[in-house]
Amino acid sequence: MKHFLAFVAVVFSCLTVFYFYRDDGQNSADYTSLKVYGSGSFIGSWGPGPKLKEIFEKQTGIKVTYLEMSDPALVFQKISFEGAQAVGDVILSLDQYDLARAADKLTWKAIEAKTSFNLPDTLKELEKMEQFKAYDWAPIAFVARDDLKITIEKLDDLLNPELKGRIALEDPRTSSPGLNFLAWIYKTKSEADADQFVKQLMAQAHSFSPSWSAAYGLFKNKQADIVLSYATSPVYHLVEEKDSHFTALEFKDGHPVQVEFAGVPESCINCDAGIRFVQFLQTPEAQKIIMEKNYMFPMIKAVQEGTAFDGVKNFKLLPFKLEVKEQLQKWLGTWTELRKNEG
């Protein structure tokens, strides 16, 4: 036991020495670098993050450091706990549901828009938002292979008996497209009809995957005939795999959109640089990179001209608006209850 106590004392002594002799530059607020929170898919080597970082650093001389986040709500909470000592200057990869459910945990800087967009009328709301700036978007749609024999043109067509067990869906409690789909159902049907529809869909779905990638994997492995995804997903197959056999199914009543936002919390250290970074995301140069890596539509329509995105059919869109938190919770509560009964 004496050996162990001596060992503990040695380790802590060494750590104390390291602590006091560490580089003090890291301890003070650093105004020449920018700490940016983003999802793994954005900041990973396959995402747009590294290229955007390179260009932004070259243009401004400000060093960008990415911090990976798995759940924006946790990051909001963390920054709120950390208060003045929080390290994040910019938060990326926020969707409309993150904003509706958790963004009020923090206060945010207003960001002046430097770029004007030519968005569809249904998305005009995005241009009015002052604290969060959208950097990409895509309609939510079901994706199928072009040999699918069944016609699917509206939500009710998903209940076709031939599709039983062949639809890959996402769990709305853990996946943003899944929640978008749930909101789609409740916004286009009466409450009783929506409840009934969700109940029937439980039996119809192959599974409710925890994430978009898991659901898409089922579809890719041909375990499902259709998958809840984005209207831009076939572009990925076309560009990366040179495969044109995937198609996004058009629903005549319209599609909801998924939008990704960036924001600068009030607790930022290098706030001006944070705002510049968000504004940079909306420039044509950055928009092109985001479009090509995220496979989402750019905010600037002109950026997609002459690319594979030009071939994506313009779907009728449902008007974009931020949902009310309580409403989302109610829908999720109903879904959970129906799922429990189903199980």
Binding site: F7, L15, Q26, S70, L74, K78, F81, Q85
Partner: protein, 160 residues
């Protein structure tokens, strides 16, 4: 000491697979200590993600929640330092096979804490870690490919 280190293979060679597990866990803990040092001790991060997640957990004894919110969060830099120290102790101990049994008990206590704060998706991982610490303590995993063999030969006792 070096001779005893390799001699252990001859006499307690049947523990070799468990020693590999020990060395892997040592590497894991050292890596974790280094990461947490960068983020929480010198990186100015006030609270860990795990702690934020823990506060959202509904099933937690009142006294433990009180400890988290009133003590741990308000003195996070100190606790982060202690946490990194504990991880470093376990990491070094497992890597070189020195005082593995007491280090395993420390690891067990650490994992029980993590289990209390972890989300349900992480619970299985921490249960597995607890089982590994118990196993290492039980067999005295430092006696094979570790310095504990040298001390065990000279001093005997349950701590080697």
């Amino acid at each position: 000491m070096l001779q005893a280190y390799f001699e252990s293979l001859k006499y307690v060679g049947h523990l070799l697979p468990i020693s590999f597990l020990r060395i892997f866990l040592g590497y894991f803990y050292l890596q974790q200590a280094f990461k947490d040092w960068q983020v929480h001790v010198i990186g100015n991060s006030m609270v860990s993600d795990l702690l934020v997640e823990a506060l959202n957990k509904t099933q937690m004894p009142f006294w433990y929640r009180f400890f988290l919110t009133e003590h741990l969060m308000s003195h996070w830099p100190f606790y982060a330092f202690v946490l990194v120290g504990i991880q470093a102790i376990i990491g070094i101990s497992y890597l070189i096979g020195y005082v593995v049994r007491p280090a395993s008990i420390l690891g067990l206590i650490l994992c029980l804490n993590y289990l209390a704060v972890a989300s349900s998706s992480q619970e299985f991982f921490f249960k597995l870690m607890i089982a590994s610490h118990v196993l290492l303590a039980w067999v005295g995993a430092g006696r094979c490919l570790g310095l504990d063999y040298y001390f065990y030969k000279r001093y005997r006792g349950i701590w080697w």
